[in-house]
């Protein structure tokens, strides 16, 4: 009990407080939105609709980040037996699935405007996110059909680790299965966009991970509080 209290305190000292994070993500996301709509110029080729890309791409990278975070925490659970890692890994997967759903939605909207179809199998990233979405939804099925305890933590952790292996393998598989249509923004010569477009993109790319991290911390603290309440209730009963 003393040890866990000490860890929580130590963690509290090193981490940025939740209200500060929430304020930062509010300011960043609002600024990014303002830049997307008012500052960034229209794309010469695709016009106004191209603006969804600033968020689409940033959300996708944030979702990858969440899945990677989940795998990292899963590894910490299996390797170091870190008692907090299981819940952290789960919350990361949860955030990853939320952002993954947003990728599917923004991607669909863009596909509809650009090509007139809500869904295109020729879209590498979109198909990959569909596979990942199904994979990580099964994570929840798995997790919630095992009673809480060490076994649930182990199974969840192993499955989350499978996820980071599946991402590159599926990506390679999708590339293998079709021709390439997705616009590639970063080439070997560096990003092929400049000025305000680059600034807007970078802003969105910073804003969304901060937002994801804020949500992650929020959910984590709520879940921990939940757990503590349950423990207290058991003690009282």
């Amino acid at each position: 009990m003393n040890r866990s209290a000490a860890t929580i305190q130590a963690v509290g000292r090193t981490r940025i407080s939740l209200p500060v994070l929430a304020g930062a993500s509010l300011v960043l996301v609002t600024t990014a939105l303002a830049f997307v709509f008012f500052v960034a110029p229209n794309d010469a080729d695709q016009g106004f609709s191209q603006r969804i890309f600033y968020f689409h791409v940033s959300i996708a990278i944030t979702a990858y980040g969440c899945f990677a975070g989940a795998a990292w925490k899963a590894l910490r659970h299996l390797w170091k037996r870190d008692p907090r890692a299981d819940l952290e890994s789960y919350v990361f997967v949860h955030q990853g699935v939320i952002f993954g759903t947003l990728v599917l939605l923004t991607g669909s909207i863009w596909a509809k405007i650009s090509w007139g179809h809500w869904w295109l199998w020729s879209e590498d990233q979109l198909v990959l996110f569909l596979v990942l979405f199904l994979f990580y939804c099964a994570y929840f099925m798995l997790r919630f059909s095992v009673d809480p305890g060490p076994q649930r933590a182990n199974l969840s952790a192993v499955y989350a680790l499978f996820g980071v292996v599946l991402i590159p393998v599926s990506f390679a598989a999708i590339r293998l299965s079709k021709q390439l249509i997705h616009p590639v923004v970063f080439t070997r010569d560096g990003p092929n966009f400049h000025g305000w477009i680059l600034v807007t993109y970078c802003l969105a790319q910073v804003a969304l991970p901060v937002l994801a991290y804020t949500l992650y911390r929020l959910e984590l603290s709520a879940k921990r509080l939940d757990g503590r309440l349950r423990d207290l209730r058991e003690v009282l009963a």
Binding site: L134, A138, M141, L142, V146, N154, V165, A172
Partner: protein
């Protein structure tokens, strides 16, 4: 050396059990035959080689799923899983032995399914056979691993396909690619890479699936 003997003994146990009870293999054979008949009526008229090649892989995948779902049922029904985990052998040997036993069932089912496919639809080439062999390794390795996970849950049979199908997507891409293109080298290489990668992960992490 001791490891190989453990794996051999465990795999032999499963094969012997199947030989006596005949639970899994007849069901798989009957299933794959019925699926082909359903496919014939599901396909419009005379369908192309491409379409039936895809269906061959759907049939193989679902037949495998049937076998994988049964893999850990005896352990569960007879409550022998704890005995396996407590046995003085490396835990990964349990995974390897189960995978080999399931592989044996799947290969036996395919020895009937592929000629049947050739009879009903189109001839089967050497590349397809190679793809079947490589895909089987991946299907059984990953599927057995997930089967052990699924059997620990309340949902059990329900959850295995949900866990398995997203992970099997790359296998389908490699296998169908190898079946339909003229130079299947890249696809076969991809399948081999998949097998190797996931075999290493399964082998290394099976310990955590069965131990608390």
């Amino acid at each position: 050396m001791g490891y190989a003997r453990d794996v051999g003994a465990l795999a032999r146990k499963d094969l012997l059990l199947e030989l006596r009870a005949r639970d899994t293999l007849p069901a798989m054979l009957l299933f794959v035959g019925s699926v082909f008949v359903v496919f014939h009526f599901a396909l419009p008229g005379t369908s192309s080689r491409l379409a039936t090649a895809g269906l061959l892989w759907v049939a193989i995948l679902f037949t495998a799923l049937l076998g994988l779902g049964r893999a850990f049922v005896p352990e569960r029904e007879q409550r022998t899983f704890d005995g396996l985990v407590l046995a003085p052998c490396d835990r990964s040997a349990i995974w390897l032995a189960k995978s080999l036993a399931t592989l044996a069932f799947l290969v036996a089912a395919e020895l009937v399914a592929l000629p049947l496919y050739a009879l009903f639809f189109h001839s089967v080439g050497g590349a397809t056979v190679a793809a079947v062999a490589l895909a089987d390794l991946g299907i059984c390795g990953v599927g057995t691993f997930l089967g052990a996970m699924a059997v620990a849950t309340r949902a059990r049979d329900l959850i295995l396909p949900l866990l398995f199908l997203p992970l099997a997507m790359p296998i389908v891409v490699g296998a169908v690619g190898a079946t339909v293109v003229d130079s299947p080298g890249r696809y076969l290489g991809f399948l081999a890479l998949y097998d190797l990668l996931f075999a290493v992960i399964c082998w290394a992490s099976f310990e955590y699936v069965v131990a608390e």
